[in-house]
Amino acid sequence: MTEQQSNAEVTLRYFAWLRERAGVSEERLRLPAEIQTVADLLIWQSRRGHPFDQAFAKPDAIRVAIDHTHAKPTAAIGAGREIAFFPPVTGG
């Protein structure tokens, strides 16, 4: 197992306009080991190429949850198994 693959497999989920722009609602993959924080992950998404580059062009407009809990850009991905990306919520 190389350094790049040392992270465990995670589920990435996408909601609302982020789901539409990313063209996917859910994917399972291993994140590169250098991704430590939510901010790292957002940068990685913006460099993944089409359509993720456009979906993640404005990371400030994107919210992230790790295992069903809101996570700030500085939060560590840690042992998180499900990471979700979505716009600011508009319920109620």
Partner: protein, 154 residues
């Protein structure tokens, strides 16, 4: 304390009775119902579609309820939120807070709504009569309302 996500409508009287009928320490019940409005910026709305994040929604609503219980003296509370396609005039959300005294009931219901609006993973998409579809933008005023609780004593 209960939360529910549902495509079905809710009945106010039945929900309030289920929550408060057996507890005579309750002196006040505050309820809030959010409804779909018929116009957006002067353009007629055909429908509103609510998407959510199953699993996280329930977890987040339960956290909001637990926070409200720490903050106010509540006897019981309920959050019901609808998802799927709704029409103008339809109910979207119901919040109920039961308390011995009315101030706690009012504050509890308002707190639940303010945090639900800014924390619970729901997203609204509007379909207008002119054929456009658009995701609703988050309102800064909602963020401010939730943030204001953090600086309040009670």
């Amino acid at each position: 304390m209960a939360v529910r996500v549902s495509t079905a409508d809710f009945d106010l009287s039945a929900e309030m009775a289920a929550l408060s009928a057996s507890d005579t320490t309750i002196g006040g019940v505050a309820l809030f119902v959010g409804k779909v409005r018929g116009e957006v910026g002067g353009v007629e709305l055909i429908s509103m579609t609510l998407e959510h994040y199953p699993g996280m929604t329930e977890a987040e609503l339960e956290r909001i309820e637990a926070d409200a219980r720490l903050r106010f003296r509540l006897s019981a509370s309920l959050i019901v939120h609808r998802v799927g396609e709704l029409k103008p005039g339809d109910n979207i959300v119901l919040v109920i807070a039961c308390a011995p005294h009315r101030q706690d009931a009012f504050a509890g219901a308002e707190y639940l709504m303010d945090y639900l609006k800014t924390r619970a993973p729901f997203w609204k998409k509007e379909t207008l009569v002119d054929g456009t579809d658009r995701w609703v933008d988050a309102r800064e005023a909602d963020e401010d309302a939730a943030a204001a609780w953090a600086s309040r004593k009670s």
